[in-house]
């Protein structure tokens, strides 16, 4: 069994550690004896949606996001079809903002893919800190680091998780990220997947199900290092060990 993972515009949208998400998807398949192919899609290159099982849209600065949009808007319809057909799409930070209809930046306006009816607005104080979530996709707390000036309003969409510690989408709503079918948008760096292997496995399961038309059980992996790293962070994030693994 094999999955194909497309990394969209790594030359543009690659802020702190996005590469880690790709490595995680790839290795957690390989460690289980499954096959993985990673295709970096550079800006200007065509995206073959039919071939893709998982797509990653990473973060970039406001300026880089604007450049990325030039190329991406061409595929607006393809993204819609892909997501509607349960295609797995992970969008982090800048990529998350691009899922919406628009992003009103400090001194401009970036049109988004409009995949979801959400939007982002710039606000003066950046939200920069460790963040901890409770998410339906993971049995244990989801940990990461958020660093964003934009506030994302997700309307009636489902959030990715409830904020236990940190700011989240707007700093006020108490929720972080967005979930729609197999589209996951989030502000969490860390990178998200290596730090939170349950989320990675969830995405892999969904992608396998879509490709092979049936539920495929993933064999358990020894995730001790991930747990130790999470505990380090939980211990340092004001939350103490309150949210530690049970």
């Amino acid at each position: 069994m094999k999955l194909t993972i497309g990394h969209i515009y790594p030359d543009l949208l690659n802020l702190y550690g996005d590469q880690g998400n790709i490595r995680c998807l790839e290795m957690r398949l390989k460690w289980r004896g499954l096959e993985a192919e990673v295709i970096p899609i550079l800006a200007g290159e065509p995206i073959d949606f039919k071939k893709m099982d998982i797509l990653l849209l990473g973060g970039g600065s406001d300026r880089e996001q604007k450049i990325a949009c030039r190329y991406l808007l061409e595929y607006k319809e393809d993204f819609r079809t892909y997501a509607g057909d349960n295609g797995v799409l992970l969008a982090v930070c800048g990529g998350y903002q691009l899922l919406g209809t628009h992003y009103r930046t400090k001194d401009g306006y970036i049109r988004g893919l409009g995949l979801l009816d959400i939007y982002t607005e710039w606000a003066p104080r950046r939200l920069v800190k460790n963040i901890i979530l409770e998410s339906p996709l993971s049995p244990c707390p989801v940990v990461g680091f958020e660093n964003h000036g934009g506030r994302t309003y997700i309307g009636n969409h489902r959030p990715f998780g409830k904020v236990l510690f940190g700011a989240g989408n707007t700093g006020k709503s108490g929720y972080e990220g967005v979930l729609y079918k197999n589209v996951l948008g989030t502000y969490l760096h860390g990178p998200l997947l290596p730090r939170n292997p349950h989320i990675c496995d969830h995405l892999l399961k969904q992608a396998l199900k879509r490709r092979y038309g049936q539920d495929i059980a993933l064999s358990p992996l020894w995730d001790q290092m991930e747990q130790l790293a999470s505990l380090d962070m939980l211990a340092r994030s004001g939350g103490g060990r309150k949210y530690a693994f049970s």
């Binding site: 880690g20 550079l42 990178p191 290092m225």
Partner: protein, 460 residues
């Protein structure tokens, strides 16, 4: 009136600095400055106005401290009196403290030159008072994201600062298109420097690990005919024609010489007005070729005296506590600071140049000065570590498991230590005798202290 305030501020600050050192509460590099600034807000402006010749500022993501210290060293060799924030305390407090240290109790300054490194984010607040005559811009690349923000934010801050000091002449690294393109946006007179020869390891970077390779002017992707590291190299925009110019100052005949003490770089620095400078350095790090070049360019631009320049370069200690070598028993211990992804990668390539078996200790902390976000570890290519003949890799620090997780993905075995002192001792006691220690900011002074202590005692 202002004279009285100035004297009061200088004296209070000097007293504070003395107390801090007496009570062993640090080196007193920043606090006195803050106190003086509070007592006399115009202090920096008036002290800086008393510098007899020139005020030289160095800024940029990497290479500030070395360049700044080399400038100071070269000017002192000419018999000049130079004030310098050589410890790298580059925020307002640290800069003021350096000025206060050079001032007498009468509040008057006695200095021919001021060599000051300035934090990129702080520059915009400091330049109006400091009024630099020359600004050396080493490079702009991504630093700790949580502290500095995206690379565009850093660049905007630098630009704003330069616009406030539009008379200052710039020495700009034109291999860095983010720095070079600033010349189109700022009115300052400027000179460029750059390297044409390939000296950095062409580490095969994955397409994703590169960044900032899009044209500042039109947004198209740049073509590179030579890539040094990060986004530095010889570039050209195929769409608008923006390209790396021929630098005014450059280096040639770069060679790496092997001697009993190790590898060292020597090269020729050339430029209009500079003639040919033979740089015979003691450094084994290619990035110091840039630092030496930028310092020479600045001295030439300002027409500072430089008869003893070659000698100064030869005798210059590039380490400054950020790259130190210690000897304890039969062990050689090399301590390095790595503070951002680009710097980290450069340190790893130093490991690769030493083929002998080695033990490696990494300390990863997440205090404010280190960056609270450790995800930068995923932008560093650790795969190359496997080729560095490590006998053991030990991780310490408050976020050591994050690096452990990163290494798990490269299938590189490692173990964990409780604290840096114990880990150092045990590796010196029973190691290969060739120990590399790579730490981030908050761990640096501790590691230096422990190693100095061990070296003085000569035993464990």
């Amino acid at each position: 009136m202002s004279g009285f305030r100035r004297i009061l501020a200088v004296r209070c600050a000097k007293l504070t600095g003395w107390l801090i050192r007496k009570l062993h509460r640090g080196n007193g590099a920043s606090l006195p400055g803050y106190i003086a600034g509070f007592l006399c807000p115009e202090l920096l402006s008036s002290l800086s106005g008393m510098v007899r010749e020139k005020v030289i500022v160095t800024m940029g993501t990497n290479g500030k401290t070395t360049t700044n210290r080399l400038l100071c060293h070269a000017l002192e060799a000419q018999g000049k009196k130079v004030l310098c924030n050589r410890t790298g305390a580059n925020m307002r407090g640290g800069i003021l403290s350096a000025f206060i240290q050079a001032a007498g109790p009468d509040g008057r300054l006695d200095a021919d030159y001021a060599c000051i490194e300035v934090d990129e984010m702080e520059a915009v607040h400091i330049f109006p008072q400091l009024k630099p005559d020359c600004v050396v811009l080493t490079n702009i690349s991504r630093d700790q994201l949580d502290r500095y923000g995206e690379v565009d934010t850093i660049r905007e801050k630098i630009k704003a600062a330069l616009l406030l000091a539009s008379k200052a002449v710039l020495a700009v690294n034109c291999d860095d298109h983010l720095s070079y393109s600033l010349l189109f946006e700022c009115p300052n007179p400027a000179f460029t420097y750059g390297i044409d020869q390939e000296i950095f390891d062409a580490t095969p970077l994955k397409p994703g690990s590169r960044e900032s390779i899009f044209c500042r002017l039109c947004g198209n992707k740049l073509d590179y005919s030579l890539m040094h590291y990060g986004h530095l190299g010889i570039y050209r925009c195929p769409a608008c024609g923006f390209s790396r110019p021929r630098p005014k100052f450059t280096v040639s005949q770069i060679t790496r010489k092997a001697s009993p003490e190790g590898i060292s770089y020597s090269f020729i620095i050339e430029g209009k007005g500079l003639g040919k400078i033979c740089a015979d350095t003691s450094t084994d790090a290619p990035y110091n070729v840039y630092n030496t070049l930028s310092a020479c360019a600045a001295l030439c631009i300002l027409d500072a005296p430089r008869e003893h320049l070659e000698e100064s370069i030869r005798s210059f200690d590039y380490g400054n506590g950020r790259e130190n070598t210690f000897y304890v028993g039969n062990s050689r211990i090399r301590l390095h600071l790595a503070k951002n992804p680009v710097g980290f990668q450069q340190k790893l390539s130093l490991l690769l140049k030493d083929p002998s078996p080695k033990d490696i200790i990494f300390q990863i902390n997440d205090k404010a000065q280190d960056g609270k976000d450790v995800s930068y570890l995923w932008d560093i290519d650790f795969q190359c570590l496997a080729a560095a003949s490590p006998v053991s890799i030990t991780l310490v620090g408050s976020r050591c498991h994050d690096l452990g997780l990163r290494l798990k993905y490269e299938n590189i075995p490692c173990c964990f230590g409780d604290n840096i002192e114990e880990t150092l001792r045990s590796h010196i006691r029973q190691g290969t005798g060739n120990l590399y220690v790579i730490v981030n900011y908050s761990g640096l002074s501790d590691a230096n202290r422990v190693l100095r202590k061990l070296q003085e005692r000569r035993t464990l």
